[in-house]
Protein backbone atom coordinates (compact mmCIF):
# COMPACT_ATOMS: atom_id res chain seq x y z
CA UNK A 1 0.00 0.00 0.00
CA UNK A 2 1.29 3.44 -0.88
CA UNK A 3 2.39 5.71 1.96
CA UNK A 4 0.08 8.69 2.37
CA UNK A 5 1.92 12.02 2.28
CA UNK A 6 0.07 15.33 2.53
CA UNK A 7 0.90 17.77 -0.22
CA UNK A 8 0.44 21.24 1.24
CA UNK A 9 0.85 23.81 -1.50
CA UNK A 10 -0.93 26.78 -3.01
CA UNK A 11 -1.52 25.59 -6.56
CA UNK A 12 1.28 23.56 -8.11
CA UNK A 13 -1.08 22.88 -11.03
CA UNK A 14 -0.38 26.42 -12.20
CA UNK A 15 3.38 25.80 -12.12
CA UNK A 16 2.93 22.90 -14.53
CA UNK A 17 4.82 20.52 -12.25
CA UNK A 18 2.02 18.57 -10.57
CA UNK A 19 2.33 15.70 -13.04
CA UNK A 20 6.05 15.40 -12.23
CA UNK A 21 5.30 15.28 -8.52
CA UNK A 22 2.61 12.63 -9.02
CA UNK A 23 4.87 10.64 -11.29
CA UNK A 24 7.82 10.59 -8.90
CA UNK A 25 5.58 9.93 -5.90
CA UNK A 26 4.18 6.88 -7.67
CA UNK A 27 7.69 5.64 -8.48
CA UNK A 28 8.74 5.71 -4.82
CA UNK A 29 5.42 4.35 -3.53
CA UNK A 30 3.93 7.54 -2.12
CA UNK A 31 0.33 8.67 -2.49
CA UNK A 32 0.13 12.46 -2.44
CA UNK A 33 -3.07 13.57 -0.75
CA UNK A 34 -4.61 17.01 -0.36
CA UNK A 35 -5.98 17.45 3.15
CA UNK A 36 -9.68 18.21 3.01
CA UNK A 37 -11.04 21.38 4.55
CA UNK A 38 -14.09 23.57 4.42
CA UNK A 39 -13.76 27.11 3.16
CA UNK A 40 -15.33 28.25 6.40
CA UNK A 41 -12.29 26.85 8.28
CA UNK A 42 -9.80 29.13 6.55
CA UNK A 43 -10.36 32.09 8.84
CA UNK A 44 -9.99 29.94 11.97
CA UNK A 45 -6.81 28.34 10.60
CA UNK A 46 -5.25 31.74 9.92
CA UNK A 47 -6.12 32.77 13.43
CA UNK A 48 -4.58 29.62 14.87
CA UNK A 49 -1.33 30.26 12.99
CA UNK A 50 -1.38 33.98 13.77
CA UNK A 51 -0.97 34.97 10.14
CA UNK A 52 -3.32 36.03 7.39
CA UNK A 53 -2.00 37.03 4.00
CA UNK A 54 -3.40 38.65 0.87
CA UNK A 55 -3.39 35.50 -1.22
CA UNK A 56 -6.51 33.34 -0.63
CA UNK A 57 -4.65 30.26 -1.91
CA UNK A 58 -1.97 30.68 0.72
CA UNK A 59 -4.57 31.14 3.44
CA UNK A 60 -6.14 27.90 2.23
CA UNK A 61 -2.71 26.28 2.42
CA UNK A 62 -2.59 27.10 6.13
CA UNK A 63 -6.07 25.64 6.55
CA UNK A 64 -4.94 22.42 4.87
CA UNK A 65 -2.04 22.18 7.31
CA UNK A 66 -4.41 22.51 10.28
CA UNK A 67 -6.81 20.00 8.73
CA UNK A 68 -3.99 17.52 8.09
CA UNK A 69 -3.32 17.17 11.82
CA UNK A 70 -6.70 15.49 12.19
CA UNK A 71 -5.90 12.71 9.69
CA UNK A 72 -3.85 9.92 11.34
CA UNK A 73 -3.37 8.12 8.01
CA UNK A 74 -0.99 10.87 6.84
CA UNK A 75 2.61 9.91 7.56
CA UNK A 76 4.62 12.70 5.97
CA UNK A 77 4.33 16.22 4.58
CA UNK A 78 5.55 17.76 1.35
CA UNK A 79 5.43 21.53 1.67
CA UNK A 80 5.61 23.49 -1.58
CA UNK A 81 5.49 27.09 -2.71
CA UNK A 82 6.85 28.79 -5.79
CA UNK A 83 10.47 29.85 -5.89
CA UNK A 84 10.82 33.56 -5.19
CA UNK A 85 7.23 34.05 -4.03
CA UNK A 86 7.83 36.30 -1.05
CA UNK A 87 4.43 35.77 0.54
CA UNK A 88 4.49 32.05 -0.23
CA UNK A 89 7.87 31.67 1.43
CA UNK A 90 6.60 33.40 4.56
CA UNK A 91 3.63 31.03 4.70
CA UNK A 92 5.74 27.96 3.97
CA UNK A 93 8.07 28.83 6.82
CA UNK A 94 5.22 29.56 9.23
CA UNK A 95 3.43 26.30 8.31
CA UNK A 96 6.64 24.30 8.71
CA UNK A 97 7.29 25.71 12.17
CA UNK A 98 3.63 25.20 13.10
CA UNK A 99 3.73 21.53 12.07
CA UNK A 100 7.08 20.94 13.80
CA UNK A 101 5.53 22.18 17.04
CA UNK A 102 2.50 19.94 16.76
CA UNK A 103 3.61 16.72 15.12
CA UNK A 104 6.56 14.37 14.80
CA UNK A 105 5.90 13.31 11.23
CA UNK A 106 8.69 14.10 8.76
CA UNK A 107 8.32 17.27 6.71
CA UNK A 108 10.18 18.22 3.55
CA UNK A 109 10.01 21.52 1.75
CA UNK A 110 10.62 22.40 -1.87
CA UNK A 111 10.37 25.50 -4.04
CA UNK A 112 8.60 25.04 -7.36
CA UNK A 113 10.29 26.10 -10.54
CA UNK A 114 8.97 25.53 -14.03
CA UNK A 115 11.54 22.87 -14.77
CA UNK A 116 12.40 21.12 -11.52
CA UNK A 117 15.31 18.71 -11.45
CA UNK A 118 13.55 15.38 -11.22
CA UNK A 119 16.53 13.82 -9.45
CA UNK A 120 16.19 16.41 -6.66
CA UNK A 121 12.52 15.66 -6.16
CA UNK A 122 13.18 11.94 -6.37
CA UNK A 123 15.92 12.09 -3.71
CA UNK A 124 13.66 14.02 -1.35
CA UNK A 125 10.60 11.84 -1.75
CA UNK A 126 12.63 8.65 -1.55
CA UNK A 127 14.26 9.79 1.69
CA UNK A 128 10.86 10.77 3.06
CA UNK A 129 9.52 7.32 2.22
CA UNK A 130 12.46 5.60 4.01
CA UNK A 131 11.99 7.68 7.12
CA UNK A 132 8.33 6.73 7.24
CA UNK A 133 8.48 3.06 6.31
CA UNK A 134 11.83 1.80 7.66
CA UNK A 135 11.60 3.18 11.18
CA UNK A 136 12.04 -0.23 12.85
CA UNK A 137 15.27 -0.82 10.93
CA UNK A 138 16.51 2.72 11.56
CA UNK A 139 16.16 2.22 15.32
CA UNK A 140 19.21 -0.08 15.33
CA UNK A 141 21.88 1.28 17.68
CA UNK A 142 24.60 -1.35 17.37
CA UNK A 143 26.35 -3.20 14.58
CA UNK A 144 26.51 -6.98 15.00
CA UNK A 145 28.46 -9.73 13.21
CA UNK A 146 30.74 -8.86 10.28
CA UNK A 147 29.30 -6.51 7.68
CA UNK A 148 30.53 -4.24 4.95
CA UNK A 149 29.17 -0.78 4.17
CA UNK A 150 29.72 0.96 0.82
CA UNK A 151 29.03 4.67 0.41
CA UNK A 152 29.29 5.28 -3.32
CA UNK A 153 29.50 9.07 -3.34
CA UNK A 154 29.64 11.42 -6.31
CA UNK A 155 33.17 12.45 -5.44
CA UNK A 156 34.62 9.61 -3.35
CA UNK A 157 33.77 6.00 -2.53
CA UNK A 158 34.00 5.04 1.12
CA UNK A 159 33.97 1.47 2.42
CA UNK A 160 34.12 0.16 5.98
CA UNK A 161 34.31 -3.38 7.31
CA UNK A 162 32.67 -3.62 10.73
CA UNK A 163 32.86 -6.40 13.28
CA UNK A 164 30.92 -6.33 16.55
CA UNK A 165 30.34 -2.57 16.46
CA UNK A 166 33.94 -1.69 15.60
CA UNK A 167 35.47 -0.47 12.32
CA UNK A 168 38.13 -3.07 11.48
CA UNK A 169 38.87 -2.04 7.89
CA UNK A 170 38.31 1.03 5.75
CA UNK A 171 39.08 2.59 2.39
CA UNK A 172 38.40 6.02 0.90
CA UNK A 173 39.16 6.56 -2.78
CA UNK A 174 38.06 8.98 -5.52
CA UNK A 175 35.03 7.79 -7.51
CA UNK A 176 35.66 7.30 -11.20
CA UNK A 177 33.52 4.47 -12.53
CA UNK A 178 31.22 3.74 -9.55
CA UNK A 179 31.46 -0.05 -9.88
CA UNK A 180 35.22 -0.17 -10.41
CA UNK A 181 35.80 2.30 -7.58
CA UNK A 182 33.56 0.25 -5.27
CA UNK A 183 35.44 -2.96 -6.16
CA UNK A 184 38.76 -1.26 -5.54
CA UNK A 185 37.65 0.25 -2.23
CA UNK A 186 36.13 -3.04 -1.05
CA UNK A 187 39.37 -4.84 -1.82
CA UNK A 188 41.42 -2.29 0.09
CA UNK A 189 39.03 -2.27 3.07
CA UNK A 190 39.12 -6.06 3.29
CA UNK A 191 42.90 -5.93 3.09
CA UNK A 192 43.16 -3.48 6.00
CA UNK A 193 40.73 -5.68 7.96
CA UNK A 194 42.77 -8.79 7.12
CA UNK A 195 39.62 -10.49 5.83
CA UNK A 196 38.35 -12.19 2.71
CA UNK A 197 35.06 -11.59 0.91
CA UNK A 198 33.58 -14.80 2.33
CA UNK A 199 34.08 -13.48 5.88
CA UNK A 200 31.44 -10.82 5.22
CA UNK A 201 27.94 -11.76 6.35
CA UNK A 202 26.08 -8.90 4.70
CA UNK A 203 26.72 -5.90 2.46
CA UNK A 204 24.87 -2.57 2.51
CA UNK A 205 25.18 0.23 -0.03
CA UNK A 206 24.23 3.89 -0.02
CA UNK A 207 25.19 7.03 -1.94
CA UNK A 208 24.68 8.29 -5.47
CA UNK A 209 25.91 5.13 -7.15
CA UNK A 210 24.02 2.75 -4.89
CA UNK A 211 21.73 1.27 -7.56
CA UNK A 212 24.58 0.29 -9.86
CA UNK A 213 26.95 -0.77 -7.10
CA UNK A 214 24.20 -2.50 -5.14
CA UNK A 215 23.34 -4.69 -8.08
CA UNK A 216 27.02 -5.45 -8.77
CA UNK A 217 27.89 -6.50 -5.21
CA UNK A 218 24.50 -8.15 -4.66
CA UNK A 219 23.84 -5.91 -1.69
CA UNK A 220 21.53 -7.10 1.07
CA UNK A 221 20.41 -3.54 1.73
CA UNK A 222 20.33 -0.49 -0.51
CA UNK A 223 19.19 2.75 1.17
CA UNK A 224 19.20 6.44 0.30
CA UNK A 225 21.73 8.68 2.06
CA UNK A 226 19.65 10.87 4.38
CA UNK A 227 18.51 8.18 6.81
CA UNK A 228 21.84 6.35 6.53
CA UNK A 229 24.08 9.37 7.20
CA UNK A 230 21.92 10.36 10.18
CA UNK A 231 22.29 6.85 11.56
CA UNK A 232 26.04 6.93 10.94
CA UNK A 233 26.36 10.28 12.75
CA UNK A 234 24.38 8.90 15.71
CA UNK A 235 26.61 5.81 15.84
CA UNK A 236 29.90 7.69 15.53
CA UNK A 237 28.96 10.09 18.34
CA UNK A 238 27.04 7.55 20.44
CA UNK A 239 24.11 9.95 20.36
CA UNK A 240 21.13 7.60 20.20
CA UNK A 241 18.75 9.55 22.41
CA UNK A 242 17.51 13.11 22.25
CA UNK A 243 17.79 15.62 19.45
CA UNK A 244 20.72 16.60 17.24
CA UNK A 245 21.50 18.36 13.97
CA UNK A 246 23.72 16.71 11.39
CA UNK A 247 25.61 18.69 8.75
CA UNK A 248 27.02 16.49 6.01
CA UNK A 249 29.17 18.15 3.36
CA UNK A 250 30.60 15.87 0.76
CA UNK A 251 32.52 16.38 -2.45
CA UNK A 252 29.60 17.61 -4.49
CA UNK A 253 26.59 17.57 -2.23
CA UNK A 254 25.46 18.53 1.21
CA UNK A 255 22.69 17.67 3.62
CA UNK A 256 21.29 19.13 6.77
CA UNK A 257 19.41 16.62 8.88
CA UNK A 258 17.44 17.08 12.07
CA UNK A 259 17.52 13.96 14.15
CA UNK A 260 15.51 12.67 17.06
CA UNK A 261 16.57 9.52 18.96
CA UNK A 262 19.13 8.65 16.29
CA UNK A 263 16.65 8.80 13.39
CA UNK A 264 16.34 11.61 10.84
CA UNK A 265 12.98 13.33 11.01
CA UNK A 266 13.47 16.35 8.80
CA UNK A 267 16.08 17.35 6.28
CA UNK A 268 17.20 19.80 3.65
CA UNK A 269 19.26 18.77 0.65
CA UNK A 270 21.77 21.04 -1.06
CA UNK A 271 23.39 20.34 -4.38
CA UNK A 272 22.22 23.50 -6.10
CA UNK A 273 25.58 25.24 -6.03
CA UNK A 274 29.07 23.75 -6.13
CA UNK A 275 30.35 26.67 -4.05
CA UNK A 276 29.09 25.00 -0.88
CA UNK A 277 30.72 21.65 -1.57
CA UNK A 278 34.04 19.99 -0.94
CA UNK A 279 34.93 20.53 -4.58
CA UNK A 280 35.15 24.29 -3.96
CA UNK A 281 37.72 23.65 -1.23
CA UNK A 282 39.65 21.26 -3.45
CA UNK A 283 39.96 23.95 -6.11
CA UNK A 284 40.87 26.53 -3.44
CA UNK A 285 43.55 24.20 -2.03
CA UNK A 286 44.94 23.69 -5.52
CA UNK A 287 45.20 27.46 -6.07
CA UNK A 288 46.87 27.84 -2.67
CA UNK A 289 49.25 25.04 -3.58
CA UNK A 290 48.45 22.91 -0.52
CA UNK A 291 46.93 19.47 -0.24
CA UNK A 292 43.24 19.55 0.68
CA UNK A 293 44.17 17.77 3.94
CA UNK A 294 46.34 20.78 4.89
CA UNK A 295 43.87 23.52 3.94
CA UNK A 296 42.04 23.48 7.30
CA UNK A 297 45.26 23.78 9.31
CA UNK A 298 46.42 26.64 7.11
CA UNK A 299 43.08 28.42 7.66
CA UNK A 300 43.44 28.10 11.44
CA UNK A 301 46.62 30.22 11.26
CA UNK A 302 44.65 33.18 9.86
CA UNK A 303 44.86 36.37 11.92
CA UNK A 304 43.15 38.84 9.61
CA UNK A 305 39.62 38.45 8.34
CA UNK A 306 39.36 38.48 4.57
CA UNK A 307 36.21 37.96 2.48
CA UNK A 308 35.87 36.44 -0.95
CA UNK A 309 33.59 38.46 -3.22
CA UNK A 310 31.38 35.54 -4.21
CA UNK A 311 30.33 32.08 -3.03
CA UNK A 312 30.41 30.87 -6.62
CA UNK A 313 32.83 28.12 -7.67
CA UNK A 314 34.00 30.28 -10.58
CA UNK A 315 33.80 33.84 -9.24
CA UNK A 316 34.73 32.89 -5.67
CA UNK A 317 37.91 31.22 -6.92
CA UNK A 318 38.53 34.21 -9.19
CA UNK A 319 38.26 36.43 -6.12
CA UNK A 320 40.65 34.10 -4.29
CA UNK A 321 43.24 34.44 -7.05
CA UNK A 322 42.84 38.23 -7.11
CA UNK A 323 43.28 38.32 -3.31
CA UNK A 324 46.52 36.36 -3.53
CA UNK A 325 47.75 38.65 -6.30
CA UNK A 326 46.92 41.64 -4.10
CA UNK A 327 49.18 40.28 -1.40
CA UNK A 328 46.61 38.87 1.05
CA UNK A 329 48.26 36.19 3.16
CA UNK A 330 47.64 32.59 2.13
CA UNK A 331 46.26 31.63 5.55
CA UNK A 332 43.75 34.50 5.43
CA UNK A 333 42.64 33.41 1.95
CA UNK A 334 42.35 29.79 3.14
CA UNK A 335 40.16 30.92 6.05
CA UNK A 336 38.04 32.99 3.65
CA UNK A 337 37.49 29.89 1.47
CA UNK A 338 36.39 27.85 4.52
CA UNK A 339 34.10 30.69 5.62
CA UNK A 340 32.62 30.91 2.16
CA UNK A 341 31.49 27.27 2.28
CA UNK A 342 30.21 27.50 5.87
CA UNK A 343 28.33 30.75 5.20
CA UNK A 344 26.66 29.45 2.08
CA UNK A 345 25.48 26.27 3.83
CA UNK A 346 24.26 28.44 6.70
CA UNK A 347 22.42 30.91 4.49
CA UNK A 348 20.84 28.43 2.12
CA UNK A 349 20.11 25.49 4.40
CA UNK A 350 20.74 25.83 8.12
CA UNK A 351 18.60 28.93 8.55
CA UNK A 352 15.67 27.02 6.99
CA UNK A 353 15.62 24.57 9.89
CA UNK A 354 15.39 24.76 13.65
CA UNK A 355 18.90 23.99 14.89
CA UNK A 356 18.84 21.29 17.54
CA UNK A 357 22.11 21.04 19.49
CA UNK A 358 24.42 19.19 19.50
CA UNK A 359 25.58 19.90 15.95
CA UNK A 360 27.39 16.92 14.42
CA UNK A 361 29.51 17.56 11.35
CA UNK A 362 30.28 14.61 9.04
CA UNK A 363 31.33 13.97 5.44
CA UNK A 364 34.70 14.61 3.80
CA UNK A 365 34.62 18.36 4.41
CA UNK A 366 34.29 17.81 8.18
CA UNK A 367 38.00 16.93 8.11
CA UNK A 368 38.84 20.51 7.08
CA UNK A 369 39.22 22.10 10.53
CA UNK A 370 38.79 25.62 9.19
CA UNK A 371 35.20 24.88 8.12
CA UNK A 372 34.33 23.45 11.54
CA UNK A 373 35.68 26.62 13.17
CA UNK A 374 33.62 28.83 10.83
CA UNK A 375 30.45 26.86 11.61
CA UNK A 376 31.09 27.27 15.33
CA UNK A 377 31.47 30.99 14.83
CA UNK A 378 28.30 31.25 12.72
CA UNK A 379 26.11 29.04 14.89
CA UNK A 380 27.48 30.17 18.25
CA UNK A 381 27.69 26.59 19.45
CA UNK A 382 30.23 23.79 19.58
CA UNK A 383 30.33 21.58 16.49
CA UNK A 384 31.20 17.94 17.07
CA UNK A 385 33.31 16.14 14.46
CA UNK A 386 33.40 12.48 15.52
CA UNK A 387 36.32 10.17 14.66
CA UNK A 388 35.88 8.61 11.19
CA UNK A 389 33.39 11.37 10.31
CA UNK A 390 34.08 10.86 6.59
CA UNK A 391 32.71 7.31 6.93
CA UNK A 392 29.31 8.27 8.41
CA UNK A 393 27.41 6.87 5.41
CA UNK A 394 29.41 3.67 5.24
CA UNK A 395 29.18 3.07 9.01
CA UNK A 396 25.44 3.79 8.94
CA UNK A 397 24.70 1.30 6.18
CA UNK A 398 27.07 -1.37 7.60
CA UNK A 399 25.17 -1.13 10.88
CA UNK A 400 21.72 -1.10 9.35
CA UNK A 401 22.42 -4.11 7.17
CA UNK A 402 23.48 -6.06 10.25
CA UNK A 403 19.92 -5.69 11.50
CA UNK A 404 18.37 -7.61 8.63
Amino acid sequence: MATRVAQISCGTEYSGIQWILDDIAEQVGIELVYPEMELSQVEAACEEMGLKVESPSLNMMMARAVSMLKDPSIKGVLLLTCFRCAEGTVVKDVVRRFLHERTDIPIITYSNVEKPKEIELYARLEALKTLITRKALLMRERQEGTTLGVDSGSSTTKVVVMKDDEIVGEAWIPTTDPVESADDAIERALETAGMKEQDIEAIGVTGHGRELVGEHVKADLNLEEVSVVAKGAALLTGRHKGEATVIDIGGMNNKLILMRDGIANSFSLGGICGGSSGRFLEVAAHRLDVDISELGQLALKSKERHELQSYCMVFGIQSLVVSLAAGVKREDVAAAACRSVAEQVYETQIQEMEMRPPVIFVGGVSLVEGVKKEFEHLLGTEVVVPPNSQYAGAVGIATLVSGL
Binding site: G50, L51, A86, E87, T89, V90, D93, Q351
Partner: protein, 146 residues
Protein backbone atom coordinates in the same frame (compact mmCIF):
# COMPACT_ATOMS: atom_id res chain seq x y z
CA UNK B 1 8.43 49.33 29.59
CA UNK B 2 9.91 49.25 26.13
CA UNK B 3 6.92 49.49 23.82
CA UNK B 4 7.33 48.64 20.15
CA UNK B 5 5.07 50.70 17.93
CA UNK B 6 3.81 49.52 14.59
CA UNK B 7 4.06 51.05 12.00
CA UNK B 8 7.59 51.16 13.36
CA UNK B 9 8.26 54.70 12.18
CA UNK B 10 5.09 56.31 13.51
CA UNK B 11 6.00 59.57 15.28
CA UNK B 12 2.46 59.92 16.65
CA UNK B 13 2.49 56.47 18.26
CA UNK B 14 5.99 57.06 19.62
CA UNK B 15 4.79 60.31 21.17
CA UNK B 16 1.78 58.60 22.73
CA UNK B 17 4.01 55.93 24.26
CA UNK B 18 6.24 58.61 25.82
CA UNK B 19 3.21 60.47 27.15
CA UNK B 20 2.01 57.16 28.57
CA UNK B 21 5.21 56.94 30.62
CA UNK B 22 7.01 54.28 28.60
CA UNK B 23 9.94 54.08 26.23
CA UNK B 24 8.99 53.85 22.55
CA UNK B 25 10.90 51.32 20.45
CA UNK B 26 11.03 52.82 16.97
CA UNK B 27 12.77 52.26 13.68
CA UNK B 28 14.24 55.77 13.52
CA UNK B 29 16.65 54.97 16.35
CA UNK B 30 17.90 51.85 14.59
CA UNK B 31 18.38 53.64 11.29
CA UNK B 32 19.97 56.54 13.16
CA UNK B 33 22.62 54.21 14.55
CA UNK B 34 23.42 53.01 11.03
CA UNK B 35 23.53 56.51 9.55
CA UNK B 36 25.82 57.83 12.30
CA UNK B 37 28.16 54.84 12.08
CA UNK B 38 31.22 56.23 10.30
CA UNK B 39 32.34 52.69 9.45
CA UNK B 40 29.37 52.08 7.16
CA UNK B 41 28.94 53.74 3.84
CA UNK B 42 25.83 52.42 2.09
CA UNK B 43 23.59 55.47 1.82
CA UNK B 44 20.84 56.42 2.27
CA UNK B 45 19.90 53.94 5.04
CA UNK B 46 23.26 52.20 5.43
CA UNK B 47 21.67 48.75 5.41
CA UNK B 48 24.57 46.31 5.45
CA UNK B 49 25.17 42.69 4.59
CA UNK B 50 25.12 41.99 8.32
CA UNK B 51 21.54 43.30 8.54
CA UNK B 52 20.53 40.99 5.71
CA UNK B 53 22.21 38.03 7.41
CA UNK B 54 20.59 38.89 10.74
CA UNK B 55 17.21 38.73 9.03
CA UNK B 56 17.90 35.10 8.15
CA UNK B 57 17.22 34.16 11.75
CA UNK B 58 13.58 34.97 10.99
CA UNK B 59 13.02 34.86 7.23
CA UNK B 60 13.82 32.32 4.57
CA UNK B 61 16.79 32.85 2.28
CA UNK B 62 14.34 32.72 -0.63
CA UNK B 63 12.77 36.02 0.38
CA UNK B 64 13.61 39.00 -1.83
CA UNK B 65 16.46 41.22 -0.62
CA UNK B 66 14.10 44.07 0.32
CA UNK B 67 12.12 41.84 2.69
CA UNK B 68 15.35 40.62 4.27
CA UNK B 69 16.66 44.17 4.61
CA UNK B 70 13.47 45.47 6.25
CA UNK B 71 13.20 42.54 8.65
CA UNK B 72 16.94 42.74 9.39
CA UNK B 73 16.56 46.38 10.42
CA UNK B 74 13.51 45.59 12.54
CA UNK B 75 14.89 42.53 14.31
CA UNK B 76 16.65 44.55 17.07
CA UNK B 77 13.34 46.31 17.79
CA UNK B 78 11.53 43.01 18.03
CA UNK B 79 14.12 41.53 20.35
CA UNK B 80 14.06 44.40 22.84
CA UNK B 81 10.29 44.97 22.88
CA UNK B 82 8.47 44.21 26.13
CA UNK B 83 5.06 45.29 24.82
CA UNK B 84 3.69 46.45 21.49
CA UNK B 85 1.01 48.50 19.83
CA UNK B 86 -0.01 47.46 16.33
CA UNK B 87 -2.05 49.94 14.39
CA UNK B 88 -3.78 48.30 11.45
CA UNK B 89 -5.08 49.91 8.27
CA UNK B 90 -3.12 53.09 8.91
CA UNK B 91 -2.62 55.43 5.93
CA UNK B 92 0.97 55.58 4.61
CA UNK B 93 1.37 59.08 5.98
CA UNK B 94 0.90 57.77 9.51
CA UNK B 95 3.97 55.55 9.22
CA UNK B 96 4.54 52.77 6.80
CA UNK B 97 6.48 49.60 6.13
CA UNK B 98 6.11 50.14 2.38
CA UNK B 99 6.17 46.43 1.62
CA UNK B 100 3.07 44.29 2.11
CA UNK B 101 4.93 41.03 2.69
CA UNK B 102 7.32 42.50 5.27
CA UNK B 103 4.31 44.16 6.87
CA UNK B 104 2.35 40.90 7.20
CA UNK B 105 5.37 38.97 8.38
CA UNK B 106 6.58 41.47 10.95
CA UNK B 107 3.13 41.69 12.52
CA UNK B 108 3.18 37.90 12.70
CA UNK B 109 6.60 37.99 14.43
CA UNK B 110 5.31 40.49 17.00
CA UNK B 111 2.30 38.28 17.77
CA UNK B 112 4.58 35.25 18.14
CA UNK B 113 6.57 37.06 20.85
CA UNK B 114 3.54 36.76 23.13
CA UNK B 115 4.25 40.12 24.79
CA UNK B 116 1.34 42.36 25.86
CA UNK B 117 0.04 43.66 22.54
CA UNK B 118 -2.74 46.03 21.57
CA UNK B 119 -4.05 45.71 18.04
CA UNK B 120 -6.11 48.72 17.16
CA UNK B 121 -7.61 49.82 13.89
CA UNK B 122 -6.66 53.26 12.63
CA UNK B 123 -9.60 55.63 12.91
CA UNK B 124 -9.70 59.08 11.39
CA UNK B 125 -12.07 61.98 11.90
CA UNK B 126 -14.39 61.89 14.88
CA UNK B 127 -13.34 58.42 15.96
CA UNK B 128 -9.67 59.26 16.36
CA UNK B 129 -10.16 60.22 19.99
CA UNK B 130 -11.63 56.78 20.63
CA UNK B 131 -8.50 55.19 19.11
CA UNK B 132 -6.15 57.36 21.19
CA UNK B 133 -8.12 56.58 24.34
CA UNK B 134 -7.71 52.87 23.72
CA UNK B 135 -3.97 53.27 23.26
CA UNK B 136 -3.61 55.38 26.41
CA UNK B 137 -5.67 52.89 28.42
CA UNK B 138 -3.42 50.06 27.19
CA UNK B 139 -0.30 52.04 28.14
CA UNK B 140 -1.72 52.87 31.56
CA UNK B 141 -2.26 49.16 32.17
CA UNK B 142 1.38 48.26 31.51
CA UNK B 143 3.70 48.03 34.54
CA UNK B 144 5.92 51.10 34.88
CA UNK B 145 9.70 50.66 35.02
CA UNK B 146 11.82 52.03 37.88
Amino acid sequence: MKVLVYPPNSLILADLVERGGHEPVVLMREIGKHVRDAEIDAPPLNVTEEDLKRALRYVSVEEPAGVKGRIGLLVPLLEQAEASIILTDAPPTFGCMGCAVSDEFFKFLIRKRKIPTLEVRYEGGDRMKEMVDRIMAFLAGLPKGE
